[in-house]
Symmetry: none
Subunit: 193 residues, 4 copies
DNA sequence: GGCTAACCGAGACGGTACGTCCAGTCTTACG
DNA sequence: CGTAAGACTGGACGTACCGTCTCGGTTAGCC
């Protein structure tokens, strides 16, 4: 029934320009300062074009997240075979990247965008942190096989705690946290080697 | 500092009504929907009275947090002498309280209020999660003395990870997390007893 | 002028449907509410088809006027040989037709369409009132020959005054005007017979 | 019940600035080009302030008319005792003033503003043309007493025809009308003296 | 007990962003 | 190549709040 192919097709160029403009503006000024006006202006499009495809700012952000265009910098987990070193290196790099104001702004944008809508929150967080979580569980499972995780460690629990720790630190800029190596040692229940 | 007692004194009643109205509105509709208009209306006060004492919405929220009127429900850490049981019970109760939509809204309000202002973020988080964190560190230190923490655990790292885990779960409503007892066992590096 | 018979010929049917839709919509809702959107929808055509043949709403209205499809109801001036009776009858019928809300709307549409464009104004008014004016001048000239016009009457001035009177009354719905017979008697400078 | 005197009183200065801005903009660019945006900008006020006091552009224009701030230039009817000369002089001056593009724009604004609302139309026209009409009827009545009006002339009919003639000519810029002296002679049913 | 300063409510002020509607243009598939 | 459909940029609309301001009216401390 949907009259397919009738009329001018949506401009993929506009769509991308809007998404890119949204991403850039969040990185520059934060989610709170974001306006549809500014998005459209930066994208060189009309405001109506934004509203034609997304019902709200939140949903533009959601699409960015789903597309993997708006997320924490994709830090791959090293795999040297030495779990403790690998996770420490990974956590160091994540924490380092959060010092970048852009990454921090994106992180907070995700949190804010999710604040007002439980349904969106699930989507946003699964999309943005899901890959991290899954990759961590994989790497941890491999470490378990290699006997590199303490006898009482649970891969899901460790992954939750790792991501939670990152989240907590991103949101508490003034805190004086434990060194990353200590965090990893604690979570793995292993002495440093 | 106060210009002697000249003039009509500020109405403590108004101040309290504004704080109460803010708390209630956040619980009912979330931080994003919060407007000074609505706060004043609900408090039965004028908008100017709000602005006379607080420069922004964020600072009203900050005062609520500082006063302990807006925070996660104050769940004390049990102290039966058995660290693992105590922390598991505590985590269970925290997670349970997050199912209450009001508590969830307050939690997200804290996050959102901090999103756009690094200075406020520090205040808000230290006030709201600081006490939890400190209490956890104390209880953990006591557990260390009693030999109830694995040999590689660091109290700060465990407290960070616990709060981070709570944060992570609050923000990912759809996830299927590990059981609390497994989380605690993992963080303590101890078998269940 | 027409590029030989290449391609699909313009649809005379669409053109007519657009003109008819425009006329109907003006009659129903007035010129101010008229939109190209609505014209195209009612005509079952695309908006582009409208713009292909007319550069603006005003010019569609102009064409309706030129075609005589949008004008005051064409009231012919009777010619019984008795100028005074004929003009009174004509004026009566014109005034009667203005009670019809459709005719009133068309009349006001003409005025409004002309309001902002001196060039269009000339076209619109000459086309819509020109025929009336010319017919009046003719009939009056005939009356002059028959000695039915007062010695000081000028045919153009009388025609102007007659049309102006109609215009004035159409635009002042609340006024309580002189009887038509008195108007004619005054303009002709003649007693009633 | 109306809580009189509560809150900041409306700014008479803003109100006047908005009315003045509207009047000026109509004179400069015509009613069709008028936007609330432009009115507010020119008045140095916010758009909301306009909407707070008037529900539509039409009603601002209506208030201008009611206040006598937007009308044809107030041309008084001379009274030398010689009706024919006086009316000819008056008509000449009116026609002259219509050549002023400002006066023409105001005239058309009145017409357009009335186009879409029968209730407003009555108000607008009675306020704007009413004084002219009343003054004409008075002067004509005086002329009747002095025997300066033909035996068949009716004061209301003559006034209607005069104003109608002015209206007609204002709306038909291209026409070649009868000389004013001929118009007056015709309407009065009198030879020139 | 009157004066006066600082409060209170109410609500208008100049602004900014919203989301909708329409103008006039452009780009498809179909005939 | 005209057509219906419909997306495009652009811009005005009317609404909702912001943070500031200005009223009339209250409530203290001080003379």
């Amino acid at each position: 029934m949907a009259e397919a192919g009738r009329g001018r097709p949506r401009s993929e160029q506009s769509r991308r320009a809007i998404l890119a403009a949204t991403r850039d503006l969040i990185a520059e000024s934060g989610y709170e300062q974001l306006t549809v006006q500014a998005i459209a202006a930066r994208a060189g499009s009309g405001r109506q074009t934004v509203y034609r495809w997304w019902a709200s700012k939140e949903l533009i952000v959601a699409e960015l997240v789903v597309n993997g265009e708006l997320t924490l910098p994709p830090v791959p987990i090293p795999d040297t075979g030495h779990l403790q070193h690998d996770l420490t290196a990974w956590l160091d790099e994540i924490m380092l990247s959060l010092n970048d104001p852009q990454a921090g702004a994106l992180m907070l944008a995700l949190v804010t965008a999710a604040s007002d809508n439980e349904a969106d929150a699930r989507l946003l967080y699964e999309m943005s942190t899901g890959p991290y979580h899954a990759a961590l569980v994989d790497r941890l499972a491999q470490g378990v096989s290699a006997g590199q995780v303490g006898p009482h460690g649970d891969t899901t629990a460790i992954a939750d705690a790792l991501i939670g720790t990152v989240l907590f630190r991103a949101l508490t800029p003034g805190a004086r946290p434990a060194p990353t190596s200590v965090v990893i040692r604690t979570l793995l229940g292993r002495s440093e080697s």
